[in-house]
């Protein structure tokens, strides 16, 4: 029996109830799988028992208070909240310059330049971690939070640049020309016209870069020392003991990430979905 032939209609829809039921069921199971660890983390951060199990032993905030008393994890969280925003900022600076240059100038080696900046994302972080440690220890820059900053900038510049490039690509060339024509120098045009235009892209790129840096484990593990970022400290904790405080810190991190990613969603998705060039 032929399906309805309206343009745009789902050709696999119409009848076929069983397929739909199967599809919905599969999706439900899939999403449960995806969401399970997060739900677990949040629920069990409020559980009284030392060992997570069902049935639980009642609700309590003891793990949150332990988190704040103990301080190791909190300190690591603080470290991450220092390094990652800085790394995201560094990535946005480099990413903006690169995106602007790629957008405006036709130069020899344009493709290679672009590839070079994206390459760090494609190389396994384990390799990068060893490599970074190698060079940094040679120049005495290893084992500090600063080392994490330096290396993270390399890795998160690519996503930041991608988002900024997306936004700059929407800028009509006449906009800069108009500014020049009216008497603005290149620098003036940059901060009076280009930067305001690129701002949503820069903000989205920053949030994306921040998220990637915040969660990054292996490179930080190699290059940091006594001052650990959060993933490194968490790892040490897990390997060392089973402590539900981790659920507490996880829930806090989750809340932070949700906030920053809602920001990304509000800024990024409109950019990604709008293909029209805004000609004022």
């Amino acid at each position: 029996m032929a399906a309805a032939t309206q343009p745009g209609a789902n050709p696999l829809a119409a009848d076929g109830r069983w397929w739909r039921v199967a599809g919905r069921l599969y999706m439900a199971i899939g999403y449960v799988f995806l969401v399970l660890p997060i739900a677990t983390m949040i629920v069990f951060s409020f559980q009284k028992g030392q060992f997570a199990a069902i049935p639980g032993q009642g609700w309590s905030l003891r793990w949150y208070s332990k988190l704040f008393e103990d301080g190791t994890l909190l300190e690591a969280l603080r470290n991450s909240l220092i390094v990652s925003p800085l790394a995201a900022t560094g990535a946005c600076v480099l990413g903006f310059f690169a995106a602007y240059a790629l957008n405006r100038f036709m130069f020899r080696g344009r493709g290679a330049f672009s590839v070079l900046l994206v390459l760090p994302v494609l190389i396994p972080p384990l390799i990068l971690g060893v490599a970074f440690l190698g060079l940094l220890s040679r120049i005495g820059l290893q084992g500090q939070l600063f080392s994490v900053f330096l290396t993270h900038v390399v890795v998160v510049t690519a996503p930041a640049m991608a988002v900024i490039q997306l936004r700059l690509g929407q800028m009509p060339r006449a906009l800069e020309e108009a500014a020049w024509d009216l008497g603005a120098t290149e620098l003036q045009t940059l901060y009076k016209v280009v930067l305001p235009f690129a701002l949503p892209g820069i903000a989205g790129g920053w949030l994306l870069a921040f998220t990637f840096s915040f969660d990054e484990f292996i490179i930080a593990w190699f290059v940091s020392g006594f001052e650990q970022t959060l993933p490194v400290a968490v790892y040490a904790y897990i390997v060392g003991s089973v402590d539900p405080s981790l659920n507490a810190v996880g829930s806090i991190v989750f809340a932070l990430s949700v906030l920053s990613l809602i920001g990304v969603e509000l800024l990024l998705f409109p950019l990604l979905l709008s293909r029209r060039r805004t000609a004022a």
Partner: protein, 303 residues
């Protein structure tokens, strides 16, 4: 695209210099140099706890000696290959129907919502997610204790510290990326083609096999290769869920990536670690090449 400043302006545009120069400088110093140095580092030695420049094959010789004995690197590499490839296959096999369901069952207005939900795991830290999996999968963890409480003791399992658990962690890590990539692939398949097949009397299954599947092929192969390579280089799932040397068909063998990490942690022999890393790179390049060859063959077959 923005406009090129005409040559009649004095000198070279400063933005051109800065825009290209600054990122280039940073990338060269902190990306290219470390990687180049890594290669060199593999030939250096450690004397009296100090890294000493040399040109020695001692690290590689030592590794070669331990390939099939003592540290058993070969087995670890085999374990890594086995786990990563099987994980990639499984991940693709599990995510593909998910994507098909989103594209063809879910109403189009909801696609964006479902994609965002699929990316949700990204909203929490990977390492913390693995901790959750730990307490979920532990022998007396959440799932097992829930089963006991429900009177289903016979369903209880011992998954923790096996490579199966590692796979669960990896698939959970890969799922968001795979779903997004596969969604883009499947969503771009022209609905008119499917419609045409259906009009010609094809059943759903036939339409899938003859139209959707072949057109998804490249996307499947590419995301599968991606998944394999990411899994191969991963350390966290293997360490936290696999227990460092998780049990698998090949035995309780650590993953090669975990091995590099633990060896560094215990011996802090950087040149040796660098040499091991180079071997990892080598295996990965081979995997990449194989993946590319598969993709090419897929393209030729499909055309």
């Amino acid at each position: 695209m923005t406009a090129d400043m005409p040559p009649s302006t004095a000198a070279v545009s400063p933005m051109k210099l800065l825009g290209i120069g600054l990122p280039l400088l940073y990338s060269t110093t902190f990306f290219v140099a470390p990687l180049a140095f890594l290669v060199v580092l593999g030939f250096w030695l450690v004397e009296d706890f100090q890294v000493v420049p040399a040109f020695s094959l001692e690290n590689y010789a030592d590794i070669a000696q331990h390939m099939f004995a003592k540290s058993n690197y070969a087995l670890a590499i085999a374990q890594s290959l086995w786990v990563s490839i099987s994980t990639a296959l499984l991940a693709v096999l599990l995510c593909y129907p998910m994507v098909l369901a989103i594209v063809y069952v879910a109403p189009p207005s909801r696609h964006r919502l479902f994609l965002m939900l699929a990316v949700a795991p990204f909203w929490s830290s990977y390492v913390l997610r693995l901790f959750s999996w730990q307490i979920l999968l532990a022998n007396k963890g959440i799932i097992n204790s829930a089963l006991a409480w429900a009177g289903l003791e016979h369903l209880q399992f011992t998954l923790i510290y096996t490579q199966t658990a590692t796979r669960i962690g990896l698939i959970h890590y890969l799922a968001p990326i795979l779903i997004v990539v596969l969604y883009v692939t499947v969503a771009s398949i022209d609905r008119d083609l499917i419609q045409a097949a259906r009009d010609l009397g094809a059943t759903r299954w036939q339409a899938f096999r003859r139209v959707i599947l072949p057109m998804s092929r490249t996307g499947l192969v590419v995301s599968g290769s991606f998944a394999a390579i990411i899994s191969f280089g991963d350390v966290l799932s293997g360490a936290l869920l696999g227990g460092g040397a998780g049990r698998s068909v090949l035995g309780s063998v650590p993953l090669f990536s975990n091995m590099i990490m633990t060896e560094y942690a215990s011996a802090t022999n950087l040149p040796r670690t660098a040499a091991l890393a180079m071997i990892l790179v080598l295996v990965m390049v081979v995997m990449l090449a194989a993946g590319a060859a598969l993709a090419e063959r897929g393209k030729v077959d499909a055309s």
